[in-house]
């Protein structure tokens, strides 16, 4: 039981970390214009929250309007 709980938490965090890298490189600029041009230290600062709340941000990223000229 304890092993299963730990595995679920680690799996969730691993997916969040995998999601976090492209999100902080591209996705964040799509869902929030105020993040465009923000320093990498800001992006690093919000990474723990991105890992914790990645399903919320993934949904927002999917629904965000595509930038002009994108395929």
């Amino acid at each position: 039981m304890a092993e299963a709980i730990l595995l679920i938490i680690l799996g969730y965090a691993a997916v969040g970390a995998g999601f976090g890298v492209p999100f902080l490189l591209r996705g964040i600029d799509r869902i929030d214009p105020a993040a465009r041009g923000s320093p990498w230290t800001f992006r690093l600062l919000i990474l723990p929250g991105v890992i914790a709340l990645w399903p919320v941000l993934a949904r927002r990223w999917r629904r965000a309007p595509r930038p002009e000229g994108a395929p």
């Binding site: 304890a2 092993e3 709980i5 730990l6 869902i31 929030d32 105020a34 993040a35 465009r36 041009g37 923000s38 320093p39 230290t41 800001f42 600062l45 919000i46 723990p48 929250g49 914790a52 709340l53 919320v56 941000l57 927002r60």
Partner: protein, 356 residues
């Protein structure tokens, strides 16, 4: 305010605040460890690791009390507002101290076997039905996870992207973390210390936190009840909300009309303006703020709006609702129906008082 995100919005005030927090934590830890080494010697000596665990744990617990008491204290007495202004940094610092406490505790008590320390933490004590042997560490772990979520979502990015209501609800979970920590500490003391004065301190902390919230809540309720008795006149929308002399110059005052949302009134440059009382940032009470550089300034985090149209000064783009206002004699009358955020309203000029 949201033009572009920065890592930390430091200013002189926040640097002083953070320096005091950092210095205070370092001083507390040093004094705790020195006292522990001095008072417990010989056969009663406490190991360095246990002293560090206790110093960090009690420090984080005290800091959480300060975090929780700041809100009601600032409502009861404006002199506590500077503590509120940078409370988020204090919250993050509380999490970091609690994390250090948990890291050393898990490493010290669960890190020397061949079982994963977290598995050991979850499985080494399963006496869930026993008060005197309850695995209080699990309560601390749950509270730490909540404090992590608070700290990780403390940046304005989260406030904007989760939405203020959801963000506020998320951060109200800090009270659940506090309840878990009270049990964590109380059961821990019960199992290891059996000292009545320590149990008394924990009880006193709960009474102070709960008492301040109740007193501040009762005061707010009284304010709203008085406001609910104000209703519009028969011949128009105007509602009398007070005397111009009730509003200090370059400061605000709040008024409630008919049980609706509070209205903030501001006096400046011989005029009165009215806006919503709710800051667009975290819902801070604008009416408890001041006019700084010609702008309404929220007492919580310093967000600013022009009193005449509710718009943040350029380059910022936030807007709050405004209200029509007029001054008749020395009485302030407002139209309780809010105008669209950012709507310009002519400020009501205060007639010169020729009586005195």
């Amino acid at each position: 305010m949201s033009v572009g995100y920065v890592t930390v919005q430091w200013n002189r005030h926040k640097r002083v605040y953070d320096s005091l927090v950092g210095g205070g934590v370092a001083l507390y830890l040093a004094l705790f460890i020195i006292a522990g080494k001095t008072l417990y010697t010989g056969a009663h000596a406490i190991s360095d690791e246990i002293l560090a665990i206790r110093a960090l744990g009690t420090c984080a617990y005290l800091m959480l009390h300060v975090v929780l008491c700041t809100g009601p204290l600032a409502r009861l007495d404006r002199r506590f507002l500077p503590l509120l202004y940078n409370r988020r940094h204090l919250g993050v610092a509380t999490f970091l101290v609690a994390l250090a406490h948990a890291t050393i505790a898990i490493g010290f008590y669960h890190g020397f076997g061949n079982v994963n320390p977290f598995i050991s933490l979850l499985t080494s004590n399963v006496n869930l039905g026993s008060l005197s042997a309850f695995p209080f560490q699990l309560l601390g772990l749950a509270a730490l996870l909540i404090l992590f979520l608070m700290a990780a979502t403390s940046h304005d990015f989260w406030l904007k992207n989760l939405g203020a209501p959801a963000w506020k609800r998320l951060h109200m979970v800090v009270y659940l973390a506090y309840a878990l920590l009270v049990l964590h500490v109380a059961l821990g003391i019960l199992q290891t210390q059996r000292s009545p004065w320590l149990a008394g301190l924990v009880g006193a902390g709960v009474v102070i936190v709960a008492g301040l919230h109740v007193v501040a809540g009762l005061r707010e309720r009284g304010h709203d009840r008085r406001g609910a008795q104000r209703t519009a006149r028969v011949n128009g929308p105007w509602v009398d909300v007070g005397c111009v002399d009730d509003v200090p110059d370059r400061r605000g005052m709040t008024a409630t009309v008919g049980g609706g949302e509070r209205i903030a009134l501001f006096r400046y440059d011989g005029c009165i303006s009215a806006t919503t009382n709710v800051c667009a940032h975290q819902g801070g009470p604008l009416g408890e703020g001041r006019i700084i550089d010609g702008c309404v300034t929220c007492p919580w985090h310093g967000w600013q709006y022009r009193p005449g149209d509710g718009q943040s000064p350029p380059p910022f783009t936030e807007r709050i609702a405004t209200h029509r206002v007029r001054v008749v004699g020395r009485r302030i009358q407002v139209d309780p129906t809010p105008l669209a955020p950012g709507t310009a309203v002519t400020p009501a000029r205060i007639e010169e008082d020729h009586h005195g």
